[in-house]
């Protein structure tokens, strides 16, 4: 056992833990603790499936889908939107752990460790991204029922879009959760802000059919580009508003901006209580 030299009460400079190791361990913890809560896994996977089937079937018979070639049913039109919804739910609700960590002492013990804040943000956000992306990719199992024919290249490209959307939304969730002290307030934000964001992403109805001001909002909504991108990959030949490259570019910018915001939020060292 170490006998700290008690007679030298001066901190000796030690190498800091760096960025990668703490980020890795925070990522690992995020993933492990998620899969140890079975109900969370089921909830996150099952609710979009229910939404997809119920909304998709209901709308499909009530209204005529405005979609064109390659998508015969509304259920098919709605499929990319449902996938984005899984990602939204998983990434946002995973970041609720930031609030829980703060309420308990876990976050405090990380904040007093010799760890740069960037490692905390990176670890947590990548953890949530991994979970959201995995859940999203699992949803591809149902793709054949939505008239999608998958091949390895397609899966890879879908994976890229899924990752980008997951990363951006998780970083957004982190930035929202960081200053909050109650999960109720967090739910409020989700209902007020994030669900509408999803509704106006082209998930339910296409951009082309929307009226003036709604269309403007949809164009400004970064999620629109995620839904668009997925739709183009899953249903080649669908008429779309933007080319895939500009969808992807928009998502990359969205991700970077969200991460920057999350990083700035976490870096404010305050004179207020940390928890």
């Amino acid at each position: 056992m170490a006998t700290q030299a008690a007679s030298i009460p001066r901190a000796t400079p030690q190498p800091s833990a760096g960025l990668v190791l703490p980020a890795f361990t925070l990522w690992w913890r995020e993933v492990v603790r998620f899969y140890r809560q079975t109900t969370r896994v089921i909830g996150v996977l099952a609710s979009p499936l229910v939404f997809w089937l119920v909304i998709g079937s209901g709308f499909g018979t009530s209204f005529r889908s405005g979609a064109g070639a390659g998508q015969e049913h509304y259920l098919d039109y709605f499929y990319p939107g449902a996938l984005i919804m899984i990602i939204l739910f998983t990434s946002i609700f995973t970041m609720m752990s930031v609030i829980e960590d703060r309420k308990e002492g876990f976050l405090l013990s990380v904040l007093v460790a010799p760890v740069p804040r960037s490692a905390i943000v990176l670890g947590k956000v990548l953890g949530g991204t991994t979970l959201a992306a995995i859940q999203g990719m699992i949803f591809l199992i149902f793709a054949p029922f939505a008239g999608v024919h998958l091949d390895p290249v397609k899966i890879l490209l879908v994976g890229v879009v899924v990752f980008l959307v997951s990363f951006a939304l998780t970083a957004l969730g982190f930035a929202i959760a960081w200053p909050m002290d109650s999960t109720q307030a967090f739910h409020g934000i989700v209902n007020l802000f994030l669900i509408p964001l999803w509704l106006l992403s082209g998930a339910l109805f296409p951009l082309s059919g929307a009226s003036g001001w709604i269309r403007i909002i949809m164009r400004l909504n970064p999620l629109t580009y995620g839904v668009e991108g997925l739709r183009q990959l899953l249903y080649p030949g669908t008429p779309t508003s933007f080319p895939l490259s500009s969808d992807t570019a928009t998502l990359v910018v969205f991700s970077l901006v969200m991460f920057a915001i999350a990083f700035l939020m976490a870096n404010r060292r305050t004179t207020r209580p940390a928890a």
């Binding site: 056992m1 700290q4 008690a6 009460p9 760096g18 603790r33 002492g105 405090l108 007093v112 209580p273």
Partner: protein, 340 residues
């Protein structure tokens, strides 16, 4: 409000190692929240390999002080040094050197004991075989060597606390800071924890700063800082603080009105008498001689009377003029209610 800031000369304390500089040095520390002052110019030093207690009721500012020392908050004014590092400016240098155990649970209940420590080790730059060895070492040190593979959520409160302690000590810090470490523990687990802290001090020369609101825990510290409403009201060894009261503490239960009883005692005996709820409190040498005198002098005024050696609570009352536990600290503190 009797909030006298008494001169805190360390009378009577004989430094065993006068050359050893302070491990923690708090210098005129002030912290204000938006609408209240939590720390109002606090200064003290903690010496090497000392078990130092920060005693105070809830809201006395000890948790604020703890957060500043553990580099979580920046003070409004004043400075604090731990191991020679300024906690506000050199936080990143300091963090490797201190172990912090918070009052709130910081272990992840969904992870096993081993996984919790593995995670903690990574945060401090430990890894691989060295980390593995150290985890086994610290687990057996806190008596949980055979429970490493179990999830923390299955542990008892005392065992969870021991994992907290193991987390704080994993990277071999020279200074350990603990915030109310025995909260929610049964008496047996409490005793274990304090024995462990004493062992750390004696065998590994770790300097320990612990906050508490429990008198019996404060008694176990080498030295104490007693806090009240953001002020340091007393500093010294428990024995030293108690002797300063001089003699005995006499408590009288008033039969009618404590205020008038106190007044009469002041008139008759020319001693300071403090009103505490329905009681009058007097500090006096040879208390047993005073008892018959006062009973005889004021017939019918006294319902009950007790004489005792001063406790740390008496030190607190002596310094602040009110009880340790009072319902409303901001209002008239003399009418504080009993809550013990």
């Amino acid at each position: 409000m009797v909030s006298k800031v008494a001169p805190l000369a360390d009378a009577g304390w004989e430094p065993t190692h006068p050359s050893v500089p302070s491990v923690i040095s708090v210098q005129n520390l002030v912290h204000r929240y938006e609408n209240r002052t939590a720390l109002n110019g606090v200064s003290f030093d903690v010496r090497s390999a000392e078990l130092f207690g920060l005693l105070g009721p809830n809201g006395s500012g000890k948790t604020t002080l703890f957060r500043i020392l553990s580099t979580l908050m920046i003070p409004t004014a004043g400075r604090a040094f731990v191991l020679g590092c300024d906690v506000a400016r050199e936080a990143s240098r300091l963090r490797n050197q201190i172990g912090v155990v918070f009052q709130a649970q910081s272990v992840d209940p969904k992870l096993t004991a081993y996984e919790n420590l593995w995670h903690q080790g990574h945060l401090y730059g430990l890894r691989g075989g060295a980390l593995k060895k150290r985890i086994q070492e610290i687990l057996s040190r806190v008596g949980l060597a055979d429970r490493g593979k179990e999830r923390v959520e299955t542990f008892s409160g005392g065992m969870q606390r021991r994992i907290e302690l193991a987390k704080g000590l994993l990277h071999r810090p020279g200074v350990l800071l603990l915030d109310e470490p025995t909260t929610g523990l049964d008496p047996g687990a409490r005793r274990d924890l304090w024995q462990y802290l004493q062992m750390l001090r004696d065998e590994e020369h770790v300097s320990v700063l612990v906050t508490t609101h429990l008198m019996e825990e404060a008694e176990k510290c080498d030295r104490l800082a007693i806090m009240n409403e953001g002020n340091l009201v007393a500093l010294g060894t428990p024995a030293q603080l108690k002797t300063e009261i001089g003699g005995d503490v006499i408590l009288l239960d008033a039969a009618k009105d404590a205020g008038s009883l106190a007044e009469q005692i002041r008139l008759h005996f020319h001693v300071a008498a403090t009103v505490l709820g329905n009681q009058v409190r007097i500090e006096r040498e040879n208390g047993h001689h005073f008892v018959p005198d006062v009973v005889e002098a004021l017939p019918g005024e006294i319902q009950a009377i007790s004489v005792s050696k001063p406790s740390l609570e008496d030190v607190f009352i002596h310094r602040t003029g009110h009880k340790f536990w009072s319902e409303s600290m901001d209002e008239n503190s003399n009418s504080g209610e009993k809550r013990r």
